[in-house]
Symmetry: C2
Subunit: 102 residues, 2 copies
């Protein structure tokens, strides 16, 4: 699939699929794919972030994220296409897998 | 110094000292000691965050921080005393040293 901004109906479909596959509750807020993960403590939260960081750097596609102690709030968007792209859904799926593995 | 919420005049004095010592521009916003650092790229930003994370965990005093690509926005407060404490100034000084070393 070419790298492009997804249409609203494509986002809706991809979001349903993501949440069905991962049993999670990602949402679209302010045109960004969003979720907050809560961990046991800071060590686990930052361990998760480190796994994501290395993956994101390899993909050259990075999250916007906020961390306070054991919580990590994530917002995914593709600045280069000014919207949500398939890359955001791919990253969300991977981040979810990392979160569940910590 | 006992761990306690600093008084406004103590914060003002500690802030002046921090900025004088580090040649940086930390500010107090919403009763949090705040600064945004900008790095060369994500790799450097996350390298900085990793140094801070290990230090913060050792001190058991953690930042609130937001990262998008090469930028890291930091807000420091001491939840246990509902305000800014000396620990926040100590962490700010250390984070500044890490930022300048990256």
């Amino acid at each position: 699939m070419a790298h492009r901004k997804l249409e609203p109906h494509e986002i809706e479909q991809a979001l349903s699929q993501l949440n069905a596959e991962t049993s999670q509750d990602w949402v679209v807020e302010n045109e960004k794919l969003s979720k907050t993960f809560k961990f046991k403590d800071f060590q686990h939260a930052f361990g998760f972030m480190t796994m994501c960081a290395i993956y994101a750097e390899k993909q050259d596609h990075h999250p916007e994220w906020f961390n306070v102690y054991n919580k990590v709030s994530i917002q995914l968007t593709s600045h280069d296409v000014s919207g949500i792209s398939q890359k955001d859904f791919d990253l969300a799926k991977k981040m979810t897998a990392f979160a569940l593995s910590v």
